[in-house]
């Protein structure tokens, strides 16, 4: 078990180094940082001095080493645009994105898994067919259209919910949360729904397909032939076996939700990392873009490690294989 975790950790380190390298390549090859920072009136000597101070004249590998070391020490550099430390900018935006992503994921799981089970158990029923048809429409419409439609209906026509921003927030330590005020929740609902709908349909269809597959398997037939009560048959025998592959996808989904909340955040002007990333692109703010890349990759790696550990917890076959 310890060896298994160690192996995954080492793999993760390699992934992070690769991503850091990509992020660093951005600095090095996309535009000239000095000309970004300086204006037309800056003298050539000043530019050269700046170049020397920033270490841009050093060899590529030395610069990469410095970049990585600074990252590890928590020094993410300064934004070209705002001149603030990038670390502070990202840190102030992380809570919004994480809360949005988590709530969206919870919506997709809490709705997707039960409906997935239901539609698997009654594969030909009228309700099942209606759900499948509705969700097919849900997948086919792009996220931003869903967002705009929700804004139009609940924000503009009915006027029930706010259409942008985070609403009332509470400061807990360094974490700005909108989960503790009624106003914050009202602001959260629409973007979370928008972001969650696609994941919901995906989760539902995946659970349905896997569950139907498991229900056809020999051990379910054998358990039925032994007269195991249907409740246990479905929720103890079948569901656990269904979840093994589903967990992988859900893990990847969560990474995806965090990384690709950009569209939703821009539709709802949600002050998260995605919006920050969009602003950074507009102003060619390369340090922020690079760090965003690294942070997102870190989330992916973290989530995948948790998924792998969950795997081992659920499936005894993996436990033995890894223990030897």
């Amino acid at each position: 078990m310890a060896f298994f975790i160690l192996k995954r950790l080492i793999q993760s380190i390699f992934v992070m180094i690769a991503v850091a390298f990509l992020a660093f390549s951005l600095f090095r090859f996309v535009g000239d940082p000095v000309s970004q920072m300086t204006g037309v009136e800056t003298s050539a000597e000043d530019s050269a001095r700046l170049r020397e101070e920033l270490g841009l004249n050093d060899a590529f590998i030395v610069q990469f080493g410095r970049f990585t070391r600074n990252m590890l020490q928590g020094d993410f550099g300064y934004s070209y645009r705002t001149r603030q430390p990038v670390a502070d900018m990202i840190a102030s935006r992380i809570p919004a994105t994480l809360e949005l992503g988590t709530v969206a994921l919870l919506i997709s799981l809490l709705v997707g898994i039960p409906t997935g089970i239901f539609t698997a158990l009654r594969p030909r029923g009228f309700v099942t067919q209606s759900i499948l048809l509705t969700t097919l429409v849900g997948v086919s419409i792009p996220t931003f259209v869903i967002g705009i439609m929700l804004i139009f209906l609940f924000g503009v026509q009915l006027g029930w919910l706010p259409t942008f921003g985070r609403g009332g927030t509470v400061q807990i330590g360094g974490w700005t949360s909108s989960l503790f005020t009624f106003d914050g929740w009202r602001a959260l609902i629409l973007p979370a729904l928008t972001l969650g709908v696609y994941q919901l349909t995906l989760t539902m269809r995946l659970v349905r397909a896997e569950m139907m597959e498991v229900l056809r398997s020999d051990f379910i037939r054998f358990a039925t032939a032994r007269g195991i009560p249907y409740r246990s048959l479905y929720f103890r025998h079948a569901l656990a076996n269904t979840m093994v592959p589903v967990i992988t996808i859900i893990g990847l989904q969560f990474g995806g939700v965090i990384a690709f909340s950009i569209v939703t955040e821009s539709v709802f002007q949600w002050p998260g990392m995605g919006l920050l990333f969009l602003e950074s692109i507009r102003f060619v703010d390369i340090p922020v873009m690079g760090v965003y890349l690294v942070v997102i990759a870190f989330f992916f790696v973290l989530v995948n490690m948790i998924v792998d550990l969950l795997y081992v917890a659920i499936d005894p076959r993996l436990r033995v294989r890894e223990d030897g």
Partner: protein, 562 residues
Amino acid sequence: MLEIEGLTVQFPGRFGVFTAIDDVSLSVAAGEIHGLVGESGAGKSTIGAAIIGLLQPPGLVASGKMTLGETDLRSLSMSQAHELRGRRISMIFQDPQTSLNPLMTIADQLIETIQAHEDVSASEARDRSIALLEEIGIENAATRIKAYPHQFSGGMRQRVVIALALCTNPELIIADEPTTALDVAVQSQVLDLIRRLAKTRGIGFLLITHDIGVIAQITDNVTVLRGGQLMETGPTQKVLRTPDHDYTKSLMAAVPPLDRKLDRFLVPDSDAPDLAAPAGRSAADAEQWLTAGTQIFGEGLGMTDVTVKFSGNRTSLFSKPAAFTALDAVSLSVRPGSVMGLVGESGSGKSTIAKVLTGLVQPSAGQLYLGDNDLPPARARSRKDPSRRQIQMVFQDPYSSLNGRHRIGDILAEPLWHYGLEADADKRRDIAAAILDLVGLSADAIDRFPHQFSGGQRQRIAVARSLLARPSVLICDEPTSALDVSIQAQVLNLLKDLQARFGLTILFISHNLAVVRQMSDDVTVLKGGTIVETGPSEDFFTNPNAAYSRELLSLTPGMPGQ
């Protein structure tokens, strides 16, 4: 105890009603083992499913009476039927690898089953489970019960399955091919166990199988089915020794005997093409093409001191994982133009030998040779090495060894262009059509897809494909173990004919000793990656040297009166 009268099962479909079981009657008494035998599609499993009430929709029992003791099985409601399952009727499935929930311990599955039918405490259920496992022959049951299914071997797992079917004390157990997935040694243990349980506990067994050897070995009565209809029923000894019905006779005749060698397999269906003398002109063309090559057919093949190791799972960063030795200094020699039978239990390394020879597995030591030349091992054998054409393979499963998205013509033409044997596309097509005739299929098969053919026909296509490479050596890995006896007879006759006509060298891998006796000139017995015995086939079968060979022969279920 179980009485079935006039059972008819139908599957209504879009294009009318398909009658899977037509007016079948049978009865199973307490303590009786009743065999249900027939080829695939005979409806054996459908009868079992109908009894336990688990017919796949849209199947339904159209008419007939089914009673278990005093209970009318057809009048039960859904929940009553489910309540009855396990408590009074249980079932054992074919494959012990897949019939247990992999995520639950044996204890959890046993305790849950007992508690589903009886109001007992978990600890009492556990005690009963342990006692049952010990009775069934699992040592250290008290600790083994905490294990997960994957921690048991195949035979032990089938015992666990039997324990699960047994833990509620049912009156009737339906065993659907309970030993088909097991080796002969394990098979005979499991059959012994079934017989003991029938005798000591008075449980009635309905034993569904396609293996007449199994029927002969353990059943009291037997019912022969064909196409959903009852052909013959009666005491096993009588039905097998003096069958009344023609179908039973031909079925019996198709089973290869273990105790003597026949010239040809007897094919039960008279409508099967006579392959002994392919009449068509195109078959002659194909034969001419096959023999027209410059190379000589039938080269010797062999290996000396070949060792194959597979690396185990890494358990620590600092120590090398322990290697698993699949073959240990194996030397093997197949004479040119002869058939070498390779037998052994699963895991004995039979298929590894095939993979080494075809260059799919890299041996860690040893030499290979083909004819007078060295045969380079996997990594040293280049893509263009001529031996890649000279050694061809026929696989076990004809359902997965043909690409389902290619037409038969393309499948057959592939070796022709791949090995550069025929540059012209039209000629390739002609040759493909001709060889279809040679293996007894009609030429219009060329534009069809594999799924339009039966298992036996597909295996013939696979044989035709391997022949089109103009091989000198054919390696057949269990070529007929997925097929019914009558189809098996046809395919093996085909192989025999082709071997005789072209003087092919064949390495014939099988776990079925009777088939090996019919096919081979020499036999090699493999156990745990080493050779136990090797020698001329008839000597081996009449007078085996090694104790293990004798054990293997004695465990193979034979036919009565032979």
